[in-house]
């Protein structure tokens, strides 16, 4: 008899770790975004979905941990952190 001991490649994608998120969730307002992608460059989870034009960047909530780095770095204040329950971004 064996328990789960071996993991095949791709587990980071398979495991939907967004369930670990803090109570705060980034909300992408998509109003003043310039498409500078600073949020993408600082996201430690690599879970900002790329858009080719401004106001198209988005967050993949299946993996986002709610660290808030994207909201802090956004030069236009176009990403805000909201309480999960009030969050409408999804």
């Amino acid at each position: 008899m064996f328990g789960p001991l071996v993991v095949k490649p791709g587990s980071s994608r398979k495991n939907k770790t967004g369930s670990w998120r803090t109570e705060l969730t980034p909300k992408f307002l998509k109003k003043n975004c310039t498409g500078c992608k600073l949020c993408m460059s600082v996201c430690p989870e690599g879970c900002i979905i790329e858009g080719s034009e401004k106001n198209q960047l988005a967050c993949d909530y299946e993996y986002c941990k709610g660290c808030g780095a994207c909201a802090v770095v956004c030069p236009k204040g176009d990403i805000i952190m909201v309480k999960e329950s009030k969050e409408e971004a999804k």
Partner: protein
Amino acid sequence: MKHFLEGSFAVAEIVKLCKPGVISAYPITPQTHIVEELAQMVADGELDSQFVNVESEHSAASVVLGAVATGVRAYTATSSQGLLYMGEVLFNIAGLRLPVILTCANRAVSAPINIWNDHQDSVSMRDTGWIQLFAEDNQEVVDLHLMAYKLGEDKSMMLPVMVCMDGFILTHGIETVDIPTQEQVDKFLPPYSPLYKLDPANPLTLGPLVDPDAYMETRYAIQETLKDALKLIPQITADFAKIFGRHYNGLIEEYKLKDAERVIVAMGSVCGTIKDVVDELRAKGKKVGLLKITSYRPFPEQEIYEALKNVSKVGVLDRALSLGSYAPLAGEMKAVFFGKKKKPQIISSFVAGLGGRDITKNSIKEIFRLLTTKEKACEFIDLKPELLKEKYE
């Protein structure tokens, strides 16, 4: 073929015949001769194996862990402090289900430093998930190594096995030992075939973080597998007997138990001494016997129950302590019979032979003498009370 050999060299010979691809060890008395001899065999080209020199036992255990994880048969040996220093890795080896085979040359544990035999080292590692087999003599040492590989590498097991041999008494004792031929060994022991392995062509992670959702199941799996080992061990000893002609139970050995009224339970080389005393006392009409425990982990509870349920007085001889509680084997023997209808009238606990103090025939006779209706708890045999008068004020 029969050889007149030191126990350590006999171990090296049988390990050579099992063809481990990787050997790693750090020298420690009284294990040293085993790995010195294996290193010589590798250097002489007799054994096609990679001998990895390391700076510690922790590293030696880590090397064999890594070797088996890549799908290679591996071997290590240690003793006493060395086994304790491996401790963390021993848990990992069993937890990752890697069938490493390790010889423990049983020795006392510091402090005070003592290089002589008792069982404290391997008994202290009883909860690691390793199978622990205790040998009585050097023929059994040799045979247990061969069976250890077969057992540990069985696809239903994939667990490490520690073969425990008494330091000096067996490692440095010279006996006639039948060493099998390569053909016989190959017939008995197929090449190691892992269930999974670290391989760049087929990448996988072995031993990732397992969170509260799944950790319990990995532990449960080992617990259940060790129960299965109690069924597999007798099958392996039966297969062994067919090829090599030597018969073992593999779990326990009953010596003159049939009508016995007083029985000693013990592990390791002292069982030979006890058998001699049993023979002498039987010649005088005393109904005495021995129950030898070969498999300490898994603990053969049912077999022990069947063997001793009609014996009235049982004395458990421990060569190790669980300081502040029952002697380790004695506590488990009591657990076997708790709540049972048929059980010994008394299960007395005796501690002897710590740090290499000889357990003589007289020591064994003393234990039989003390096996009366009055139950003894952790009674030290051959203790010298005059040494307990030190004053350090």
